[in-house]
C-alpha cells in the first residue's frame, strides 16, 4: 500500500504545474559573476608529448576587465585560449565561466553560445561570403539546423549589423566579398563578427598583426571602448600596443603565470626582465 502511495506521491510531484521537469530545464543560465570574477582558470596542466604547454596555470579575470597576455613564443598563450574555447582538452585543472559554467565539459558551439567569442591569430573570415553575410552568420540567434533554415533578418538585427559595420568602418564594403578585403580589414571584420554576437568575454589573439600604425591606433581605441560592457582578453606581441591599452598585464612563461600587474610593475619585475623583456633588450 505504501509503495502505491509513494508512487502516487511521486506522480503528483511530477505533475506539479509550478515546476519544470529537470530534463526540460533550460541549460542556458545567466553567467553568475556575483564575485566580480568572470573567468576562473585553476591548476591547468597540458602536455604535448612531454612538452608542458601549460604548467599549473592560474588566472582570474574580472568582469568588464581588459587584460593583456604577453609572453614569448611557446609560453602557452594560444594554448590557453584553445582550452578556454573548448578546442583542446586539458590534462587536469578547472576552467569556470562565472561561478556556474564549467567550460571543460562543453563543446565549442556550447561555449560560443554562452557568450565567449574568439578571434584567431590568422584572420579567419568566410571569404566566399560578403562582409554583410559574415556578420549575419555571427548574429546571436538560435543556431539549430531548422531555425537557421527558416531564419529571416529582423529589423533589430539589421540595425545591429549596420551599427557594427559603422564601428569597424566597413560600411562601404558591406557587399564586397570578404576575400577581397585587405589584411587589416579582415582583422576588423573578424572583430566585428565577435561584436555582433554580443559576447560577454572576447578572446582576441594578436589583433594588430600586420596592421599599419594608423589601423593599430584605431584598434586600440576600439578595444578600450569595449572593456566595461564586455570583458576582453588580448594576446599581443606588440609591446607598444599593449602599453597603449593595458591596465593589467599578465606575463606567461613556459605555461604558467610569471608576473601580473600594471605595465610598469611588470616591466620592472626582475623575473620578467630576466626571461622575457631582458632577451629583447
Amino acid at each position: 500500500m505504501s509503495a502505491l502511495e509513494n508512487l502516487t506521491a511521486e506522480g503528483k510531484e511530477m505533475l506539479r504545474r509550478d515546476q519544470v521537469w529537470p530534463f526540460l530545464m533550460p541549460k542556458q543560465q545567466a553567467v553568475d559573476v556575483s564575485h566580480q570574477v568572470i573567468l576562473y582558470v585553476e591548476g591547468l596542466n597540458l602536455s604535448f608529448d612531454g612538452f608542458k604547454a601549460l604548467n599549473d596555470l592560474n588566472l582570474y579575470i574580472n568582469d568588464g576587465e581588459l587584460r593583456c597576455l604577453i609572453g614569448a613564443n611557446g609560453a602557452g598563450k594560444t594554448t590557453l585560449m584553445d582550452v578556454i574555447t573548448g578546442k583542446t582538452q586539458c590534462d587536469s585543472g578547472t576552467v569556470y565561466f562565472g561561478q556556474n559554467h564549467n567550460l571543460l565539459e562543453r563543446s565549442e558551439p556550447e561555449i560560443a553560445e554562452l557568450g565567449i567569442g574568439r578571434k584567431f591569430q590568422k584572420p579567419t573570415v568566410f571569404e566566399a561570403h560578403t562582409v554583410f553575410d559574415n556578420l549575419e552568420l555571427s548574429l546571436k540567434t538560435n543556431k539549430g539546423v531548422m531555425p537557421t533554415l527558416l531564419a529571416r533578418l529582423t529589423p533589430t538585427q539589421l540595425d545591429r549589423i549596420d551599427q557594427v559595420l559603422e564601428i569597424i568602418g566597413l560600411k562601404e564594403q558591406r557587399f564586397l566579398l570578404a576575400g577581397a578585403l585587405s589584411h587589416g580589414q579582415k582583422q576588423w571584420l573578424e572583430i566585428g563578427m565577435l561584436l555582433v554576437s554580443e559576447p560577454r568575454l572576447l578572446l582576441i589573439d594578436e589583433p594588430v598583426a600586420g596592421m599599419t600604425a594608423q589601423e593599430t591606433e584605431r584598434t586600440a581605441e576600439l578595444l578600450t571602448s569595449l572593456a566595461g560592457e564586455h570583458t576582453v582578453i588580448v594576446v599581443e606581441h606588440d609591446m607598444e600596443f599593449v602599453r597603449s591599452i593595458a591596465r593589467t598585464v599578465t606575463v606567461l612563461h613556459q605555461g604558467s603565470v610569471l608576473a601580473e600587474g600594471t605595465m610598469d610593475q611588470v616591466q620592472n619585475n626582475k623575473d620578467v626582465i630576466e626571461v622575457y623583456l631582458g632577451e629583447e633588450a
Binding site: A112, H129, L149, A180
Partner: protein, 414 residues
C-alpha cells in the same frame, strides 16, 4: 562618391555574381527551359506520326529520362560536395538503394506472370528454392510503402553514416575513402544470393507500374515527365536551401569549419542533415531511373559509378546547382555518343576530360560561361560609367567606380 560606390557594389552583389561559388543564381530560366523541352519532346512522341521529321522516338524519350535522373544524382553530389566540401565517393550507393526499393516494388507487381508462374515469389526466389518472401519484401507491393522505403532506407543509412563520421570529425580524404568503402561493401553484399535481392542478376523483367504497362509509349513519356518534374522540384528546393541562412552556414562550414563552430554552429548536425538530404535526392533519382532502364543490379554500387558522378559535377562546375545538372547531361550525352563509336575508349576519354577540367577549368563549364558574361557586363558598365561621367565631367568618380567594379570582378572570378 561613396553612394555611387555602394550602389554599384549592391548592383553587382545582387545580380552579377550570383550563381557563382555563392548560394543564389537564377532558377526560373532553367526550370522553364527544362519543362518546355519536356512538354515538346513528350508531344513530339505522342502526337506526331513516326514519319514526321520532328518525331521523337520512345528510345530517345527513355534516354532523356535516364539523363535527367543522372542530373538529379549530380545535383545531390553537388549539394554535399560543391557547397559543403564533403567529397562523397559513394553516392552511387544511395542511388542504387533507391533503385532497389523501386525494383522490389516492380518485382512484386509481376505477380504470377514470371517464367515459373509462381503466384507470389519472384523467379529468382523460386530458382533458389525459397518457400516464402523474406520479411523485408513484405509490404513492398504497396506503392506508397515502397516510395516511403525509397526515401527511408537511404536516408537512414546516410544519417547513421554521417552521424558516426561527422561526429568523430572525419574529413577530407579519409571521409572520401570511407564513402567509397561503404558503396563497395554494399556492392559485395548485394552480389550475394542470400541477400534476397537477386544476387548477380539483380532485379529485372518488370511488367508494370501502378497498373500501367512499362513498355507502352505513354508510360515511358509519363516517367520521363515525372523525372523532369522531380528534377525541377529538387532543383528549386536545393536552391531555396542554399539561399537561406542555412546555405550560407553550409558554405561557411566548407570554408572554415572551426570558425563556424566558434560562432556557435553545431557543424556536425548541419553536415549530417545535408548529407541525409543529398542521399534522399540520390535515392529519388535511383527510383526514377530503374523503371525507365528496366533493370537494377549490384553493378550500380560499383565505386567507379560514384567517381563518375563526381566527374560530371566537376565538368559542369561544382558549387553551382546548374553546373551539376549541365555537367551530368553533357558528359552522359558524350558517353552515349562515344561508346557507340569507340566502346573501349570511353574510360580514357573520361579520365582525360577530368584531368583537363581540373587543370584548366577549376570552376567547370558554368564557371567559364559566367566569366564571359561577367566580362561583358563589366564592359557595358564601363561604357555606361564613361558616358555618365562625361556628362557630369566628374573624372575621379568614374575611375573610382571602375576600380571598385574591377576589384569585385577579379575577386569573384578567382
Amino acid at each position: 562618391m561613396s553612394q555611387s560606390l555602394s550602389s554599384i557594389a549592391r548592383f553587382s552583389a545582387s545580380d552579377l555574381f550570383k550563381g557563382k561559388g555563392q548560394p543564389g543564381g537564377r532558377v526560373a530560366p532553367f526550370v522553364v527551359i527544362l519543362l518546355a523541352v519536356t512538354v515538346l519532346a513528350s508531344a513530339a512522341n505522342l502526337l506526331l506520326p513516326e514519319s514526321s521529321p520532328f518525331y521523337v522516338s520512345t528510345y530517345t524519350i527513355t534516354l532523356l529520362g535516364k539523363y535527367l535522373s543522372y542530373a538529379m544524382l549530380a545535383l545531390a553530389v553537388d549539394v554535399i560536395w560543391g557547397y559543403c566540401g564533403i567529397l562523397s565517393l559513394g553516392h552511387g550507393a544511395f542511388f542504387a538503394l533507391g533503385g532497389y526499393a523501386m525494383g522490389v516494388y516492380l518485382m512484386r507487381q509481376i505477380g504470377d506472370r514470371g517464367v515459373y508462374g509462381h503466384p507470389e515469389l519472384p523467379d529468382f526466389m523460386v530458382f533458389l528454392d525459397w518457400s516464402e518472401l523474406p520479411w523485408y519484401w513484405l509490404g513492398m507491393d504497396q506503392f506508397w510503402f515502397a516510395m516511403l522505403m525509397v526515401l527511408a532506407v537511404p536516408g537512414l543509412l546516410a544519417y547513421i553514416f554521417g552521424w558516426l563520421a561527422f561526429r568523430s570529425r572525419v574529413t577530407g580524404v579519409y571521409l572520401s575513402i570511407m564513402t567509397q568503402a561503404l558503396t563497395y561493401a554494399l556492392l559485395l553484399a548485394f552480389f550475394r544470393n542470400e541477400m534476397g535481392f537477386g544476387g548477380n542478376n539483380g532485379l529485372t523483367d518488370f511488367k508494370d507500374i501502378l497498373g500501367f504497362d512499362l513498355q507502352s509509349d505513354t508510360t515511358r513519356v509519363a516517367l520521363f515527365a515525372i523525372t523532369a518534374l522531380m528534377l525541377a522540384l529538387t532543383f528549386i528546393t536545393s536552391h531555396w536551401i542554399m539561399q537561406s541562412r542555412l546555405g550560407k552556414v553550409v558554405v561557411a562550414i566548407r570554408d572554415g569549419e572551426a570558425r563556424a563552430r566558434f560562432l556557435g554552429y553545431r557543424t556536425d548536425n548541419f553536415k549530417v542533415w545535408l548529407f541525409v538530404y543529398s542521399a534522399m535526392i540520390a535515392a529519388i533519382a535511383g527510383a526514377l531511373y530503374v523503371p525507365q532502364v528496366g533493370i537494377i543490379n549490384p553493378g550500380e554500387f560499383s565505386p567507379i559509378n560514384s567517381i563518375e558522378i563526381v566527374i560530371w559535377v566537376a565538368v559542369g562546375g561544382r558549387g553551382t546547382l546548374i553546373g551539376a545538372i549541365v555537367g551530368a547531361l553533357l558528359v552522359n550525352y558524350a558517353k552515349t555518343r562515344f561508346t557507340a563509336i569507340m566502346p573501349d575508349g570511353w574510360l580514357f576519354a573520361l579520365g582525360a576530360l577530368f584531368v583537363l577540367v581540373t587543370l584548366f577549368l577549376p570552376k567547370g563549364l558554368v564557371g567559364v560561361f559566367s566569366q564571359l558574361t561577367e566580362r561583358w557586363f563589366l564592359m557595358r558598365n564601363r561604357s555606361q560609367v564613361k558616358n555618365s561621367s562625361a556628362e557630369e565631367s566628374d573624372k575621379p568618380l568614374s575611375t573610382g567606380a571602375q576600380a571598385s567594379a574591377g576589384v569585385q570582378t577579379k575577386e569573384a572570378s578567382v
